[in-house]
């Protein structure tokens, strides 16, 4: 388990970043002069209305998109001057993703979904199988490992997606609207799980959502509007258990 001292380490840093999209000849700025630091061992939530630029910010901090201006650092590495190949490599080694749609391959069992990225990471077959099983146990799906997505509920699918991200043992975990497609109970389980991953593994968990239910579960909430951060506040969450992810 991660020592609590590293919980204060800044792992993601954006300095004066700007991003605009072109639609035809019209240039629409999405982010403008935004600066931000995100720390390890916490669940940081970016909330705001749709179109406020929160997903773009997530894409930039995770190395999925480039900035137009400014600088982006992740784990002390500058992302904005990496070429696409190097960015892929960085993501392979250090990042996990959880998306709103679970994006699981229909043909693969839960265990295979989790194993798949590990192979590309160069993990030997047997170890990949063991790590996949461990991650699925951690999200409470040990008994559902052999099932395909069609046989799993929405909440279970999202937990497989979390296990897939988790098994890579990433330092950075990004989640985009992870609860939007889930019912209240499943959403609760998922957000608790993300929170515990931050605490238990010392992972930097950055979550983007407009779901107000999540606010109470985050360590830090950033409110965005029109491409700027309006409010940055720390929640004093009640003690989250640091053992195991399943309540």
């Amino acid at each position: 388990m991660m020592p609590t001292t590293s919980a204060t380490r800044v792992t993601l840093r954006a300095e004066d970043i700007g991003k605009a999209f072109m639609s035809g000849k019209v240039r629409t700025p999405v982010l403008d002069g935004l600066s931000l630091s995100v720390r390890a061992g916490e669940l940081t939530l970016i909330s705001g209305p749709s179109g406020c630029g929160k997903s773009t910010l997530l894409a930039i901090l995770s190395g999925l998109q480039r900035v137009d201006t400014g600088r982006v650092f992740a784990l002390d590495q500058r992302l904005d001057d990496l070429d696409p190949r190097a960015l892929e490599r960085f993501r392979l080694l250090h990042t996990g993703f959880v998306f709103q749609g679970f994006n699981l391959f229909p043909a693969l069992t839960a265990r295979e979904q989790v194993e798949l990225p590990l192979h590309y990471l160069g993990v030997p077959r047997r170890e990949a199988r063991e790590r996949a099983a461990r991650s699925l146990e951690e999200v409470g799906l040990a008994h559902r490992m052999a099932l395909r997505p069609a046989e799993l509920s929405g909440g279970e699918k999202q937990r497989v997606a979390i296990a897939r991200a988790l098994s890579k043992e990433p330092a950075l975990l990004f989640a985009d609207e992870p609860t939007s497609a889930l019912d209240a109970a499943s959403g609760q389980i998922v957000i608790d799980m993300l929170h515990r991953i931050a605490r238990v593994h010392g992972t930097t968990v950055l979550c983007v959502s407009h779901d107000p239910r999540l606010i109470g579960h985050a360590d830090r909430v950033l409110s965005m509007e029109d491409g700027r951060i309006l409010n940055d506040r720390r929640e004093t969450t009640p003690g989250v258990p640091t053992e195991g992810l399943v309540p």
Binding site: S55, S62, Q65, L92, F97, Y120, A165
Partner: protein
């Protein structure tokens, strides 16, 4: 390694079925047209493939058996001088005009003058010894069962060839000719039928059997181009047979037709297959994008698509092989001329796999939509 490509193919077989069927049909069409064309044109070399000779000696540059010109009969001595040669036999080819009894008018026939001994080399595989021996009778000829009606005769009837009276003493089978009718006679009879004074006492071909058929290539090279004779050329039986078939395929335009049809089948198959693969990739584009977000490189994802295309090709080829074998068996049962050898079957398989590879490469293009940033909504 999790076999993503293969597992997806098995799990979503309905999605891939059109591609597999397209590949299968393309493979089947290539296979059947090749077998049919080879079957039809292999009759151009029946004189060679139906004989037991290892070497054929003829006029230099002869493109097909049916285009032979007479050669120096003394070459026979040169052949027999070679220790590898066991036996030599002349073969006479006469283009002639046939007139039957029942007013069928003139018919162009190819008269093959062969040695009527029961162990004669030419047509050893087509004429049973007993039938062959009947050619010893004066003016006797044999025609193919399938040509009887065309020639207007039955066994025992008389007819005239080049105004010379002959008698049909038997019927062969499997001796149908391309672009004419085969008539078999003894060497003596054929000489009488040959009205060209330039051919007097000269054979069209000399055929030889070797002690060791495997040495045919070396012996052919050794015997070729001996001085002191009129010009001649030596071919191994297989080379001369191939030469004859190829001549007919190219001369009649059938070869070009085969290539054209193969091209059409290739293009149509590739279009259908690539469309199906594109749809399959598009259906999984969000999953591919997620893998890319997790750091799995585009290169690795392209390999997954190519692997999928390869599996589609393999499945399609299996279908084509099963249906092809069944249809070829059916065709043989119905006396449809079909011939398929290993190199041609392999060529069809390679063409079909080429088609799926091209389709896979086309489908790879749709991976460009697998942008992980597009998953963030």
């Amino acid at each position: 390694m999790v076999a993503l490509a293969r597992k997806t193919l098995v799990h979503e077989w309905r999605r891939f079925l059109p591609a597999i069927l397209a590949v299968g049909f393309a493979g089947l069409l290539q296979l059947l047209q090749a077998a049919l064309v080879l079957g039809i044109f292999s009759s151009a070399s029946i004189y060679v493939t139906g004989s037991a000779a290892d070497l054929w000696v003829g006029y230099p540059g002869t493109q097909s058996v049916s285009l032979g010109r007479s050669i120096d009969p003394n070459v026979e001595g040169r052949l027999l001088m070679d220790p590898a040669v066991e036996r030599v036999e002349p073969f006479l080819w006469v283009d002639a005009d046939w007139r039957g009894q029942s007013g069928t008018g003139g018919e162009s026939v190819y008269v093959s003058g062969v040695d009527p001994r029961p162990d004669g080399l030419v047509f050893a595989r087509v004429l049973p010894p007993a039938l062959r021996m009947r050619l010893r009778e004066p003016d006797a000829v044999i025609v193919d069962q399938a040509d009887m009606d065309k020639l207007g005769v039955r066994v025992g009837d008389s007819a005239t060839i080049n105004s010379y009276r002959v008698r049909v003493v038997g019927a062969s089978s499997g001796l149908r000719a391309l672009g004419g009718v085969n008539v078999v006679a003894s060497l003596d009879t054929a000489r009488v039928l040959d009205t060209d004074p330039a051919d007097r006492d000269r054979p069209t071909y000399l055929v030889a059997r070797l002690h060791d058929p495997a040495a045919a290539d070396a012996v052919a090279r050794r015997i070729s181009g001996a001085r002191g004779f009129d010009r001649y050329e030596v071919w191994t039986a297989s080379a001369f047979a191939r030469r004859s078939v190829l001549y007919w395929m190219l001369d009649t335009g059938a070869g070009a037709g085969v290539l054209f049809l193969a091209g059409v089948v290739f293009v149509v198959g590739a279009i259908i297959t690539s469309q199906t693969l594109v749809a399959a990739v598009a259906g999984s584009v969000r999953e591919y994008a997620t893998l890319n977000a997790l750091g799995v490189g585009m290169r690795a994802l392209r390999w997954v698509v190519l692997e999928q295309a390869t599996w589609v090709g393999v499945c399609g080829l299996l279908c084509a092989s099963v249906f092809g074998a069944a249809l070829l068996a059916l065709a043989r049962g119905q006396d449809v001329p079909v011939v398929l050898d290993v190199p041609v079957a392999l060529a069809c398989a390679v063409l079909t796999m080429g088609l799926t590879t091209v389709s896979g490469l086309a489908a790879i293009r749709s991976l460009r939509h697998a942008d992980p940033a597009s998953l963030l909504r």
